[in-house]
């Protein structure tokens, strides 16, 4: 607890906010509806959706996008991927990363460099299976961040560690404590935080039976909530619905998932 309180005025914050870029999703339409041309730094962004709707794919895309060089308006930084439920597939990330690097090199008129070893090192992967391991990791985060230029933290998924072995009240308490420390770090070091959440059913709610898990209290916590859906018709578009945002109104953007990653629908 710092003895001195840093009280900013809105002008200072405005300068800070406009001086740093967001992390693009590689779908321009989605970037547009987010209101800040991508996933903003310092905020908690939650990706919701049923299995197979592209949450992990989106995370992998962002892990590649964080590496975009400054010359293209990127952060030229590294990512930390916290895996709690084994959805991470290294080969898939390599594919997305290659496509991203290729695109950047073409745009900068640089010679094509197929060696991605250096780039791969910029993704720090940690697995945290089980509640205990997850809590221990969250506790060590500040130290982990310090040693690297990490500008994106992904937790896939935030719901999984809390599925059992903890009461609802304790879960809320623990989650909110962890999020407070996480966001403190994120704001201080200007890091984007992306969390994936699963869906669960709650009968009788007027807004529909399928809701994000972790409860109503959790629904308030994140600054941005994106609901991803896959179409019933295989030829249809995938949709990203901006459910909640502190900076942009509700909107929908179509997107698709290709071999190269997240892309716009033509």
């Amino acid at each position: 607890m710092s003895p001195e309180f840093k009280i900013f005025n809105a002008t200072e914050l405005w300068q800070k906010e406009t001086s740093l870029p967001s992390i693009p999703t590689f779908s321009q339409k989605l970037d547009y509806i987010l209101g800040s041309d991508g996933i903003p730094l310092g905020s908690l962004t939650e990706l919701l959706g049923l299995p197979g709707t592209g949450k992990t794919q989106m995370c992998l895309q962002l892990c590649a996008a964080v590496q975009i060089p400054k010359a293209l308006g990127g952060l030229n930084a590294e990512a930390l991927f916290i895996d709690t439920n084994t959805n991470f597939v290294l080969d898939r990330f390599k594919e997305i990363l290659s496509a991203c690097l290729l695109k950047c090199q073409k745009l900068l008129n640089l010679p094509i460099n197929a060696n991605n070893e250096e780039a791969l090192k910029k993704l720090h992967y940690v697995n945290a299976f089980g509640l205990e391991k997850f809590c221990a990791l969250m506790h060590q985060l500040p130290k982990l961040i310090e040693e690297n230029n990490i500008r994106l933290i992904v937790i896939d998924s935030i719901a999984f560690p809390f599925k059992e072995g903890i009461s609802a009240k304790q879960r809320t308490g623990l989650l909110f404590r962890q999020m407070a420390e996480l966001q403190r770090l994120a704001v201080e070091k200007q890091i984007a935080v992306v969390l994936t959440n699963e869906m669960s059913t709650r009968l009788g709610l007027s807004s529909g039976t399928v809701v994000g898990s972790l409860g109503d209290a959790w629904a308030h916590r994140c600054n941005i909530r994106l609901l991803l859906s896959a179409p019933d018709d295989p030829c249809g578009d995938r949709l990203a619905l901006l459910l909640k945002s502190n900076i942009a109104p509700e909107a929908v953007a179509p997107f698709k998932i290709t071999k190269e990653g997240i892309r716009d629908v033509n």
Partner: protein, 331 residues
């Protein structure tokens, strides 16, 4: 409870305090409860001196009495409400956010609380001398959005710069930090000129961190926070707006089984933060998103909300108004 220290009287030397502590007299209150003769014997101070210490304590810690006429004369110059710039809401509030009290803004997720909070921030600093302190507990404050709202109101660059300067933001992540901040505001080690309102977005983010704890320390923190809040409201002539959330729960209506009919569910809303908090705010603004068939005067991305005002300290029934929330702001 305030502990007895040498600051309370010159006669209360370290050794005197030690003797008293040895006899289980550690707080100012315990000192007052003891028989004066007994204290004199214990501390080797004479009765006069003990009575002098007692008087000092009374003068220092006792609250002053004021009579009704004095209050009436003082109230003539006091500002009662903070004009929040939204006419219909001002009316329903009886003039605006009340000065001297805690107001609560409460609603379900996605009901527009943060956007209304932003609009209030903008409206209160614009064209006034007011400064606002925005206590951000969840990283929701966005200066770019605030600037856009100012822009939408047609402010010149100069006006915008002036307004933005008067909006102060501090990030608070735990209840302990919140209490520390308020303590510093009370003793003026943190000073904000022309402070008119403090907005806390949101209180549950801090209080939920204490869920599942057996030792109830969360409630102790909340009480201490409320104490500081009330002090600042009354003595610094400000209003404090706390954002609270609602959660939903479903009650299964147990009715007689009628052939072919399913269970009926009744959705109820719960105002969070617990029983202690329920009666703390003097005014509660409940915000609820509406699904109107024909939205009036709203952009494509907007929606309407119903703001219901419940006042606990007046003989008045609930009143409400309808507001519009969209990319321009809230009105």
């Amino acid at each position: 409870m305030q502990k007895l220290t040498s600051l309370d009287h010159t006669l209360l030397t370290k050794s005197v305090i030690k003797t008293l502590a040895y006899n289980n007299i550690t707080t100012v209150f315990e000192f007052l409860q003891q028989d004066a003769e007994k204290l004199s014997t214990l501390t080797k101070l004479n009765l006069c001196q003990i009575l002098d210490i007692r008087n000092n304590i009374f003068t220092k810690y006792s609250a002053p009495l004021v009579d009704g006429l004095f209050l009436l004369s003082k109230s003539a110059t006091k500002k009662r409400y903070i004009d929040i710039g939204i006419e219909s809401l001002n009316v329903v509030l009886g003039g605006g956010i009340p000065v001297g009290y805690i107001t609560e803004l409460c609603g379900l997720a996605g009901s527009g609380k943060t956007q209304l909070g932003f609009q209030l921030v903008v409206n209160c600093v614009r064209e006034t001398e007011n400064t606002i302190l925005f206590i951000d507990t969840k990283g929701d404050f966005d200066a770019v959005r605030i600037q856009k709202i100012l822009d939408n109101l047609g402010c010149s660059h100069q006006e915008m710069a002036r307004a933005l300067f008067k909006i102060k933001i501090v990030q608070i992540w735990t209840m302990e930090e919140l209490i520390e901040l308020f303590k510093k505001l009370k003793n003026k080690s943190v000073n904000i000129e022309n402070l008119a309102m403090i907005i806390i977005d949101s209180l549950p983010c801090l209080m939920f961190q204490h869920f599942g704890d057996d030792n109830k320390i969360g409630l102790t923190y909340m009480n201490i926070f409320v104490n500081y809040c009330r002090y600042l409201c009354k003595n610094h002539d400000i209003g404090v707006l706390c954002i609270n959330i609602q959660t939903r729960w479903v009650e299964q209506d147990i009715t007689d089984y009628i052939d072919g009919k399913d269970q009926t569910y009744v959705e109820k809303q719960n105002r969070c933060l617990g029983k202690y908090w329920q009666h703390i705010p003097a005014v509660i603004i409940l915000i609820e998103r509406l699904k109107l068939d024909k939205p009036i005067n709203v952009r494509n991305d907007g929606f309407h909300v119903k703001a219901t005002v419940v006042r606990s300290n007046e003989i008045k029934l609930e009143q409400h108004c309808i507001l519009t929330v969209d990319s321009l702001g809230v009105r």
